[in-house]
Symmetry: C2
Subunit: 325 residues, 2 copies
């Protein structure tokens, strides 16, 4: 593994740089890519920030995100000295279309905080203890003494804030708070960006929540909570995929709940199942694997055949075995 200075020096040597992050990008994927894309542009580099799925609507408020291109936006195959891939645990997670745009990707620099990242770059910096790639990007900029402007500050903030659940997850360190202090001193308006990140849900999210609560099922003495989002509700309210993001936390945050499950009826009639556990002993990854899905001990998912009520009964019967056994 390289040092941050070696990563920075390699970037300085390049004239043209592509900056990538993962498909279905979150705040840290977009934030870290735009922050570093901006800094490298200011240093006079020819920068192309590229994401398979582009900027999600919920992050369009961030300054500078118009620099993020989708593969279809490019007119000719990319030839660059360096490709910098951020927050992306495996090469494929950047997306097939992204990789297909390259005629020559040059030196691959892999900067990430995912512990599962095998270090697939030519140069690698994997800081598994960093709560967000945004924090590593900040450290790199400081290490190299590069200028940090408003666009970079807001995007680093977005990465750190979203990947730490607003400075709450166990991965948050004293250094994370120090970075927060420095970004605020530099001019980040905490109230404004927090409002944009966390208080700007469409009204239909509340209607979805209301419908979900009607279908709330508590079982196993309160240890299991689950709810169902039916097609009729999705159609009635014009629910977008991002509307339900994080709603499972509402039932996960009940003290007695060990496993929380979200069943969603897809357009094709299949049932999307998302499961969360509070303890490795109640391994939802294993339960989802029974149904052909995957994931980790604490967060996993699968797709099942409908109808939704029958899928829920079958899945929850496996959940109950784990809880009671």
């Amino acid at each position: 593994m390289e040092t941050l200075r070696q990563i920075g020096d390699a970037l300085l040597k390049a004239d043209s740089i592509a900056v990538l992050s993962h498909v279905r990008p979150d705040g840290d994927a977009i934030g870290s890519a735009v922050a570093l894309g901006q800094v490298l542009s200011q240093l006079g580099k020819q920068v192309t920030v590229l994401n398979e799925d582009g900027v999600p609507a919920a992050l369009e408020f961030l300054p500078g995100v118009s620099m993020v291109k989708r593969p279809s936006d490019l007119e000719s195959p990319l030839v660059v000295d360096v490709t910098l891939i951020l927050d992306t645990a495996s090469e494929q997670r950047a997306g097939d279309e992204v990789w297909a745009t390259f005629a020559d990707r040059g030196v691959l620099i892999n900067l990430d905080h995912h512990v599962s990242n095998p270090g697939y770059g030519d140069l690698n910096f994997i800081a598994a203890k960093a709560p967000a790639t945004g924090e590593i990007v900040f450290d790199l900029i400081k290490e190299m003494d590069w200028p940090l402007d408003e666009i970079s500050r807001y995007n680093i903030w977005a990465g750190i804030s979203t990947d730490t659940g607003s400075f709450r997850y166990p991965s948050t360190t004293a250094h994370t708070f120090e970075v927060g202090a420095e970004l605020v001193r530099g001019g980040v308006d905490v109230g404004e960006i927090s409002q944009d990140l966390y208080e700007s849900y469409p009204l239909r999210r509340i209607f979805v929540l209301r419908e979900l609560l009607k279908e709330l099922l508590i079982s196993c003495d309160g240890k299991v909570a689950s709810w169902k989002l039916k097609r009729a509700v999705i159609n009635e309210h014009g629910v977008q995929p991002s509307d339900t993001e994080g709603l499972i936390d509402v039932i996960r945050s009940v003290d007695s709940v060990v496993i929380a499950v979200f069943f969603e009826e897809m357009e094709d009639g299949k049932i999307r199942v998302s499961a969360r556990s509070k303890t490795p002993n109640a391994d939802v990854g294993k339960i989802c694997a029974e149904f052909g899905g995957g994931g980790h001990q604490l967060a996993a998912g699968t797709r099942m055949a409908g109808p939704i009520d029958e899928a829920a009964v079958r899945f929850l019967s496996s959940v109950e075995k784990v809880i009671n056994g």
Copy 2:
């Protein structure tokens, strides 16, 4: 107004100190009182931490909170050299029973961050720009170079974290993050305390949320969202005051919403009103003042005569004037 050092010196001169905070205490009321109660005890003072309503169930996990007494726990009238009142905008907000326990309250020291605090103490330190009284308590302890132990760290954290919505509200400053960094360096386990504060709700909170969503009212083109908690629901689910803490954020976080209002039917038939605004232009402090209440531009409250449906109509008509005017 005094300096922090003058406040600290006055506390040092006292042998016996009563530490008070407001009725229906939140994380900052309990956290700042226990943190400073603990520090003063360690300095050899005879400390009585007193709260009209005691420690809410949701905060019982905090270390050291067993030091908080209710007026009924005291066997004889209190005689102290100093009474330190924390996070309490007006003298009455400490509660009638609390004041009735005193035979002699000595010198009254008033330490607070509420801008509406008129400085009713003999000595006063009101830092309206501090996001939490917990942050002022931290600054006082640092200014005086008093030792900070685990109990104080966790309680200061609880105060700051809850009063800033986990480092998100506009009141959060670079200094707030610096305090966060120092508390984490000192040993606060961010993941653990965040789970205790934000992911350990009783199941009845979810049932309350379900009932509130049934009573959700959206008005003024989506700019105003309000809901009502009726006595029947409170009784049916055995709702505790702390169960509803923060639920208003569910409706406040809708993008179109400017003002969110929570109406709650109290045991005595009075209606407790909590209002939140996203902008100083829509000043909920002013609206609440119309009805005899108080607070800030962005967060305020009042009590009204029932019945709840009529109180809501009257209050919302003032809200609509502000929104449309």
